[in-house]
């Protein structure tokens, strides 16, 4: 027994070395991006890994004062917040309706929503493009919103349905006896009780929506309507080899998500893992 125990412990340093090397491999590109965004071009070529010998804030200053990126950032913020709000509101209403409606049609309706979990919406891109043209939404930031909402609804209905079904019926009954209407019950009891689930739904939709390139790329060509990630595609054409500017934009586009992630790593990991399974 003791000999086996020793063998197992001998493997331990190896495990840590293995994980440490991988961690380095994960953090190194992010470090290089961040640190080089503060360097002058010559210093990047001379030493791409070390701290900057002279700090250069030029890249960031240009991005903030004289570039379309603040605009792109606001566009992304608008599209993401609007989409998440609609996913959560419409999704919880639908889930509540499906739970309370005692009919076999309710079951079908629920299954119809959940079926969307297995279909990658990109398949429908050709027709979505035609729909956006017909609706006059082409070249508008808002064009991506209904698509993201449709994409997010299946997982929202699926998750919230389970949660709402778990709420004890007595709570609703008591409220009904007190004279509360059904919508009031939804607003003041249901929403409050499933807030944790709503937060999960918001997180696993937040990252794919914020990071999406595909739909902005195919819907939006007009400059001032671009989202942040679509704006980033123009970097190499726009700034040629002005590395500090390019790296400043790349850093700025992922720092908000990384900060949010570090604040709530547990929720992100749980949410995104569950969200990925929907594929």
């Amino acid at each position: 027994m003791t000999s086996r125990k020793k063998i197992r412990d001998a493997g331990k340093p190896f495990k840590y070395v293995f994980l440490a090397i991988w961690s380095l491999l994960v953090l190194f590109p992010l470090w290089t991006m961040l640190i080089n965004s503060f360097k002058f071009k010559n210093d990047i070529y001379r030493d791409p890994f070390g701290l900057p010998p002279r700090w250069n804030f030029e890249g960031y200053l240009t991005v903030f004062s004289n570039s379309p990126f603040p605009r792109y950032f606001l566009n992304s913020l608008l599209a993401t917040i609007l989409s998440l709000a609609l996913i959560v509101v419409l999704g919880s209403l639908a889930a509540y309706g499906c739970v309370r409606w005692k009919s076999r049609y309710a079951r079908w309706l629920y299954l119809f929503f959940v079926a969307g979990l297995t279909v990658p919406i990109k398949i429908g891109s050709v027709n979505l493009l035609q729909i956006m043209i017909a609706l006059g939404l082409l070249d508008k930031t808002l064009s991506v919103v209904p698509v993201y909402v449709a994409m997010g609804l299946p997982i929202a209905v699926f998750t919230l349905y389970e949660f709402i079904r778990g709420i004890p019926g007595e709570l609703v009954e008591a409220a009904l006896i007190d004279g509360a209407g059904h919508f009031k019950i939804y607003r003041s009891i249901i929403v409050r009780l499933v807030t944790p689930a709503i937060a999960t739904v918001a997180i696993f939709n937040l990252v794919p929506i914020w990071n999406d390139l595909w739909f902005p790329l195919i819907f939006i060509r007009k400059d001032d309507q671009r989202t942040l990630i679509l704006g980033v595609t123009r970097l190499f054409g726009e700034y040629q080899t002005d590395w500090s500017k390019i790296l400043a934009v790349l850093s700025l586009s992922c720092v908000p998500v990384i900060l949010l992630y570090l604040l709530m790593a547990k929720q992100f990991i749980a949410g995104l893992t569950a969200g990925a399974v929907k594929g």
């Binding site: 590109p29 990630i229 586009s253 990991i269 990925a276």
Partner: protein
């Protein structure tokens, strides 16, 4: 939620109204476009209007027209290679990480978990650009490090050589997504009851036996889900090639995937014409859809658990 019969039952129409707004958005922007895109693969037309029914013509062109079919089959086989490399690198690595992290009394689990998962939260476009800079042949970090290690001779233009480009792109993609299989395997391993290992240990089974005889068989459903996820992800992959190489899948179409091929035919237009062929694009999308559907059915048959069941469990977890 089961209100007792004493409370007056509301009519069905009311509850349907609660679901109606969601239903409308979902039908108009998901169900209809997906079904319509399948239907549009039988049509052709001018620009964005497809009104001319052409039967299987788009498919015949896709599979037999010399130029188009060459691109299609290249993209198709590249996507399979991309998938193969990710299964081999990303998912094996993910399993390895999960086995280490699930070890009893392993310290630092939370920290490593957080680090391994960081790239999942980042935009594929941004990580693609970062790696493109790192792999730059002149001053990219990879070749500098190789040079310092005395391996300057293998410091290749990784993204510019048709022999290495696809591998490089797949490895970057594996780097980005390895956090997902890690977390899924980890969750799977943590569900295995501890007493199984204790019993095996009493019977004298070492680490290897308890891996092949207990962990692996019990992880089979998770392996199935991870395979399906990787498969679906790869047949939809686009951003990583677009960022690192470009929409044409250079060099010499060696990184052209189904995603980039679809983008060129159905959305952006093939070089040098630049006019999208929506009917052909819809045929590409439909073909992808059929391959995905067949693949998912096959994996489910082999690993024996349906994704809905797994999702059920996933959602019930606190």
């Amino acid at each position: 939620m089961h209100p007792s019969p004493t409370v007056k039952k509301e009519s069905g129409a009311l509850w349907f109204l609660y679901a109606l707004p969601a239903l409308l958005v979902y039908v108009v922007f998901m169900a209809v476009p997906v079904i319509n895109s399948l239907r549009l693969s039988f049509f052709s037309g001018q620009g964005y209007v497809l009104d001319n029914f052409v039967g299987f013509n788009n498919y015949i062109r896709l599979f037999t027209d010399p130029e188009t079919s060459a691109r299609f089959f290249t993209a198709f086989s590249n996507t399979w290679k991309f998938f193969g490399i990710q299964m081999l690198v990303q998912n094996t690595l993910g399993l390895g990480f999960a086995l280490i992290l699930s070890g009893r009394g392993f310290r630092g689990k939370g920290l490593f978990r957080t680090v391994i998962f960081v790239p999942v939260t980042l935009s594929v476009l941004v990580t693609g650009y970062i790696w493109k800079l790192i792999l730059n042949p002149q001053w990219g970090a990879v070749n500098i490090i190789l040079g310092k290690l005395g391996l300057g001779s293998i410091a290749l233009p990784w993204l510019g050589d048709p022999r290495t480009a696809l591998v490089a792109v797949s490895l970057v993609s594996s780097w980005q997504w390895v956090g997902l299989p890690t977390m899924m395997f980890l969750a799977g391993l943590e569900r295995i009851p501890e007493d199984l290992f204790e019993a095996a240990q009493i019977d004298g089974a070492g680490a290897w036996l308890s891996f092949t005889r207990i962990k692996l068989p019990l992880l089979l459903p998770v392996i199935g889900i991870v395979t399906v996820l990787t498969f679906v992800g790869n047949f939809n992959a686009f951003d990583v090639v677009y960022a690192m190489e470009g929409a044409n899948g250079p060099p010499a179409y060696s990184t052209d995937l189904m995603g980039t091929f679809f983008y060129r035919t159905g959305i952006a237009g093939q070089h040098p014409v630049g006019i999208p062929d929506l009917g052909l694009g819809a045929a590409v999308a439909t073909t992808t859809f059929i391959v995905l559907f067949a693949g998912i059915l096959l994996v489910n048959r082999l690993t024996g658990e349906r994704p809905e069941k797994k999702r059920d469990r996933e959602a019930r977890r606190p």
